[in-house]
């Protein structure tokens, strides 16, 4: 499992399930950068080293190929949030259950929004205007984003792309669509926002973005629910209680955040598949999921999100649920890692000022088309 906030609740759940069933559970924690490769190697070489694996949802199309994951023995129930459940399916069959209900949120300084009568940003244009006002009047960065190549820049760009009416791939998923006028305009807009972002953001990752928010040196950003707790913790944040969380702003289209759910599944080569399935169904059941939510894990069940005692404790829950309901997953293709890499390189170049937005998008589309046409 992931050695980060996303893995903590599952690790505790594994210990509890093991103690209740008299089964010794060995937990292997790996940093995000290595988790994918270890799991994919285990799956493709069918070593059966792991009985349960935790997957970031964009990995699922590749990991569930070639029968490498065991199909669920029974379908999941209807309480799971539909957007989280749809990424657990490959060719109509369920191979995983959603455990961490992550979807991007928009973080903004509500105290500054109030001070300058800006209100909650509903469109990207409002975000840009707010960034400008705050930069000028507060002498802090109005906005902060991450544009390091790969996952970072793509995650921060895709909500803009969708809001402007563009997309990464065509609707049939067989060709690139990121060189459309809407997509180029979205990138131009990103560069405009970049003027109010800290210098060097073309090399930023999630930790730099959150550091700026926590230090109070930037006012707005796209971020993940896992960071909410830190924002509200006075020992970590200089602006505790001053940051609000809302759904993604729109522009020409309704605002949509990227889904980043974590799933649990059982490798086909698992030597303890029955126990493994028993565990994942138990861990994703309502009562253990509530316990996990109390430990900071964003749930994937509607009933848990709506529990009054949880809503009272976690002020962002209503926004998180709205965001999850409207979120979109990244394109479902086994080649997503490679596409994201190629797309991210061009986006990062444009943000670093090394390439014109139109040229960047044309180059990205060309690379993506080559990847899609290529047999592995």
């Amino acid at each position: 499992m992931n050695a980060g906030v996303e893995g903590t609740a599952l690790k505790t759940a594994a210990g509890e399930w093991g103690a209740a069933h008299g089964v010794h559970v060995e937990v292997v924690e790996l940093p995000y950068a290595n988790l994918f490769e270890k799991e994919q190697l285990d799956l493709s070489s069918r070593t059966g080293a792991y009985d349960v694996i935790m997957m970031d949802d964009p990995w699922f199309p590749l990991m569930s190929e070639n029968g490498n994951l065991a199909p669920l023995p029974r379908p999941p129930d209807a309480d799971f949030i539909a957007t989280c459940l749809q990424v657990c399916k490959n060719a109509g069959t369920y191979f995983a259950l959603p455990y961490v209900g992550n979807a991007q949120l928009f973080f903004y300084r509500s105290d500054l929004a109030q001070k300058y009568s800006l209100g909650e940003p509903k469109t990207w244009d409002e975000v840009l205007r707010a960034a400008k006002t705050i930069s000028e009047k507060e002498k802090i960065f109005g906005y902060v984003m991450r544009a390091a190549p790969g996952n970072a820049v793509v995650a921060d760009f895709v909500p803009l792309l969708w809001a402007f009416g563009g997309d990464v791939l065509s609707s049939d998923g067989k060709s690139a669509a990121c060189d459309s006028p809407a997509a180029i305009e979205a990138l131009r807009f990103m560069l405009e926002l970049g003027k109010y972002s800290p210098p060097g953001y073309a090399g930023f990752n999630a930790d730099e973005v959150s550091a700026h928010l926590l230090q109070g040196s930037a006012a707005m950003s796209i971020n993940w629910p896992a960071w909410i707790a830190a924002m509200d913790d006075p020992s970590k944040s200089k602006v505790a209680g001053k940051i609000d969380f809302t759904t993604m702003p729109g522009e020409r289209e309704k605002g949509v955040g990227e889904l980043g759910a974590w799933l649990v599944g059982v490798p086909a080569a698992s030597k303890h598949a029955a126990d493994a399935f028993d565990f994942i169904f138990w861990a994703t059941d309502a009562a253990p999921m509530k316990q996990a939510a109390l430990r900071g894990n964003p749930p994937t069940r509607r009933s848990v999100f709506e529990l009054p005692d949880l809503v009272a404790n976690f002020r962002a829950f209503p926004a998180q649920l709205r965001s999850l309901d409207s979120s979109r997953p990244r394109p479902r293709t086994p080649k997503w890692n490679e596409i994201e890499n190629a797309f991210g390189i061009e986006l990062s170049k444009a943000n670093a000022g090394a390439e014109d937005p139109a040229a960047a998008m044309r180059n990205a589309a060309r690379s993506i088309d080559e990847i899609l046409k290529r047999t592995p």
Binding site: F36, E37, G200, A202, G203, I345, S367, T375
Partner: protein
């Protein structure tokens, strides 16, 4: 011509002694090499193909990565060699406290590269980092974003490598200087040679074996640079610091395309071997 017949069933006396190391070499070096070549020449479905090698020719990212690897290697090597040699000569010329200086210079090299890279990532941070912080304090308000800037990223990464590995060149050249016999140096002095003449005509030629070794070892290490770049920039911004090793890693372990990664590894191996031979030839020729 005299020939000696080898009797049937003859087992050379040394065989049991070399067998373990030969087995290890076969298992850990030769077999993986053959396997990698086979992997590179195998297409989807197991059919033999040259596609992985032809793809290399028009892969823009590989082209950029190769160019950057060469630039990185040459840039870092030139600085490390120049500074390492200067430091070795300087410390060697000291009358006392040589061992204290030597130990102090070696400190960066003793840090694990990953730890050093994480430290430098913090140092280079444009807003919170100690580098820009210090510059601001002394009145220089720079907008340089170091590893995050398109034009400064590669130089910043080279800077970290110079900081960490110049001591290695220094160490080898220091050892080389100490091994130079005193007699030719004294003879040169008696013959009235100037310090520069002594250095150029006596010290340098005698130091050549150590210099070849230092350049070769460092160059081979630089060509496969991975850890520092992985931590400092992940190859970005864009492809500004993408290197062949990083691209091979991504291709194999992120894109699960082991055939193409094997092809790139093979090309990198051949290039490194050719480069090493070139350096050895050039140094021998002089």
């Amino acid at each position: 011509m005299k020939t000696r017949r080898i009797p049937a069933g003859f087992v050379p006396e040394g065989l049991p002694w070399v067998a373990p190391s030969v087995t290890v070499l076969l298992a850990l070096s030769i077999y993986p090499l053959i396997f990698a070549v086979k992997l590179a020449l195998t297409g989807a479905g197991g059919a033999p193909t040259f596609a992985n090698f032809t793809r290399l020719a028009h892969d823009r990212v590989f082209g950029a990565a190769a160019a950057q690897t060469i630039l990185f290697t040459l840039g870092a090597l030139a600085f490390e060699f120049g500074v390492g040699l200067a430091l070795a000569l300087l410390i060697d010329s000291l009358a006392r406290a040589r061992s204290i200086f030597r130990a102090a210079i070696l400190v960066p090299m003793l840090l694990p590269p990953v730890v050093a890279a994480v430290c430098w990532r913090l140092i280079y941070n444009p807003q919170f980092g100690v580098l820009n912080g210090t510059l601001r304090r002394i009145g220089i308000h720079t907008s340089l974003t170091w590893t995050n800037g398109e034009s400064s990223a590669l130089a910043s990464v080279i800077g970290v490598d110079i900081w960490e590995w110049t001591p290695f060149i220094f160490l080898l050249l220091s050892a080389g200087l100490q091994a130079i016999p005193q007699e030719p140096l004294e003879a040169a002095r008696i013959d009235g040679a100037s310090a520069w003449q002594t250095f150029r005509d006596v010290t340098l030629p005698l130091l050549k074996p150590a210099m070849v070794l230092a350049v070769l070892l460092r160059a081979m290490d630089l060509v496969r640079i991975f850890d520092q770049i992985f931590i400092l920039t992940q190859g970005g911004p864009g492809t500004a610091t993408e290197t062949v090793s990083l691209y091979i890693y991504r291709t194999a372990f992120r894109f699960s395309n082991f055939g193409y990664a094997a092809a790139m590894s093979f090309v990198l191996l051949i290039a490194t071997m050719l480069f090493s031979r070139g350096v050895m030839k050039a140094m021998r020729a002089r």
